[in-house]
């Protein structure tokens, strides 16, 4: 590992906290980002010589703040450039600084930074893109590649999103408990959108984009370290860990989707599963159930089954019944129908689908499930109609290919 590479990891790790603190200080995202950028450049010069600081985030906040203040003075007074050595040596001041950082509410800083990316007027993909740029520090080129769009198009999207963010009023006071809870909910939703963007790409060729999933997990862990008692953040982290654990088994060598029942479970990442299972149990202890915890609990039932036939579908059905109350949605009912088909048979499941026909008329998975149930009931002609409707709604070639495979099976 080269020096630049370890500094890169340190900068990536420190970035959310440092940019968040600089944002609180300057109350301007552009200034905060520039200050962090400048501090990073100085780190690249200073750290190889002096070694890594004990608290890189504190170092970057300190140096970033001073350099931005100098920049402002320079602009205001048209002064001559101050020498580099005018800036106080951060190393020497670090101890005092760390003390101040510990006592400050920096977890609210990071939450605020994530929250400002979640502008409700912006489409979800723009919220994610701007969070990847600002919080994660991915380059526009990297984000464009992850979303499979041109760099110019992505740059334009991010600029537009940032303008919307600059115009919105963000409270810089320490949030009260209610506001903090609201922010956490909004931010959790954005992180899960980011994960889903990587897990089931909404368009384009790639079906599983691992870096986006891993970045989502990294952000969730960061949030959970800052808010260790938030059971829904535990649930969200667990859910993503348990889903991501199956990534290596989800596509075959040709890039076709492999359904969970057909996956080689030895390819599942059992380290991630172990961590996910603990977080599910930890969240359950809180006694405050929530949608992410319930979805994680369902994923944990799958994860515990050594073979597909070991899956406790009755338990999954039961958890879905709780989720239907916590978060009523036709998609939840559709998923429950799959569990019901395993416990009570395809006819009972198909009956559940009747009420979903209208709300899910444009939903790929609805027709995929419907086709599969009809197939199981031996109603091949109706199954074919449903599968064809699914293909028309497929968002990726892998989704379409999977349904075509089902159609081929119908024909034999």
């Amino acid at each position: 590992m080269t020096e630049v590479a370890w500094i890169g990891a340190a900068l990536t790790a420190a970035r959310p906290q440092a940019v968040a603190a600089l944002l609180r200080y300057f109350r301007d995202l552009d200034v905060a980002e520039e200050a962090f950028q400048e501090a990073s450049l100085r780190a690249l010069k200073s750290w190889p010589v002096n070694g890594p600081p004990r608290d890189p985030a504190a170092w970057l906040i300190f140096v970033g703040r001073n350099s931005a203040l100098d920049e402002m003075r320079r602009r205001n007074k048209h002064d001559t450039l101050p020498d580099d050595d005018v800036i106080p040596d951060a190393e020497n001041n670090e101890a005092a600084l760390v003390e101040r950082l510990d006592s400050s509410a920096y977890h609210d800083d990071v939450l605020r930074l994530l929250f400002v990316c979640c502008q409700p007027d912006l489409p979800a993909t723009q919220q994610i893109a701007v969070a990847l740029r600002i919080v994660s520090g991915l380059s526009v080129q990297e984000i464009a590649r992850a979303f499979l769009v041109s760099e110019a198009a992505m740059a334009q999207r991010i600029t537009r999103a940032k303008r919307a963010m600059a115009e919105s009023a963000v409270a810089f006071e320490t949030p009260g408990p209610v506001e903090r809870a609201e922010r956490l909910t909004t931010v959790a939703a954005m992180i899960y959108l980011l994960f889903n963007e990587g897990y089931s790409a909404s368009g384009g060729e790639a079906h599983v984009r691992v870096p986006l999933c891993e970045e989502a997990i990294r952000l969730a862990r960061l949030l959970l370290r800052l808010f260790p008692s938030e059971s829904e953040i535990m649930g969200l982290t667990a859910l993503m860990l348990l889903q991501h654990a199956r990534a290596a088994a989800r596509l075959d060598a040709n890039g076709n989707i492999v359904l969970m029942d057909d996956q080689d479970r030895r390819l599942w990442n059992h380290d991630l599963i172990a961590e996910g299972l603990i977080l599910v149990e930890k969240a359950q202890r809180s006694g405050v159930p929530g949608p992410y915890q319930m979805q994680a609990a369902i994923a944990s039932v799958h994860a515990r089954a050594v073979r597909p036939q070991d899956t406790d579908w009755a338990q999954i059905d039961q958890i879905y019944s709780v989720l239907e109350v916590l978060q009523p949605s036709p998609v939840v009912t559709l998923n429950r129908a799959v569990a019901v088909s395993k416990v009570r048979g395809p006819a009972a499941a198909l009956q559940m689908l009747e009420s979903l026909a209208q709300p899910l008329a444009g939903y790929f998975h609805y027709f995929g499930v419907k086709g599969a149930l009809l197939k199981d009931l031996g109603r091949a002609a109706e199954a074919r109609v449903a599968f064809n409707q699914a293909i028309a709604l497929a968002r990726t070639p892998a989704e379409a290919a999977h349904i075509r495979m089902n159609l081929d099976r119908l024909n034999t």
């Binding site: 590992m1 990536t12 260790p228 008692s229 380290d271 930890k282 202890r285």
Partner: protein, 132 residues
């Protein structure tokens, strides 16, 4: 004499490590541990799961179970137990049994475990300090 070597680092930074960095770190450690094992000197080695999985049982009138790792800096690390538990609940029950009138026990699952070569203890087994 047995020595416990405890690993500390910034977890946020570990989270940002690339696969190459992980491979490099583990390769370096393995050259050392292989040598120690060959010399018959290596005891159990474990990597802990992230602190996000941790809980803390703090001594109180009734033992308090808290989310998150042990976070205070006033107390010092004095020892550890390695226990095979069926679940987090099971592990917390053990910690509740163990916890004294003061102090805290952090309960954290292991991510990886290597049992070592089965060292013969040169130490006493009394839980009390020797001068008593």
């Amino acid at each position: 004499m047995f020595y416990c070597i405890l690993c500390y680092n910034l977890e946020s930074e570990i989270d940002a490590w690339t696969r190459e960095k992980w491979a490099a770190v583990l390769a370096k450690r393995e050259t050392v541990t292989h040598k120690l094992a060959a010399e018959g000197r290596l005891g159990p080695v474990g990597r802990l799961m992230p602190t996000t999985t941790a809980m803390t049982v703090r001594a109180s009138r009734e033992a308090l179970v808290l989310d998150g790792p042990f976070a205070e800096t006033k107390e010092q690390l004095l020892g550890f137990y390695l226990v095979d538990c069926k679940s987090l609940q099971d592990a917390l029950a053990v910690a509740r049994d163990l916890v004294g009138d003061t102090g805290a026990l952090e309960v954290r699952p292991l991510a990886t475990f290597y049992p070592g070569i089965g060292l013969q203890s040169p130490l006493g087994t009394s839980p009390l300090p020797r001068f008593q």
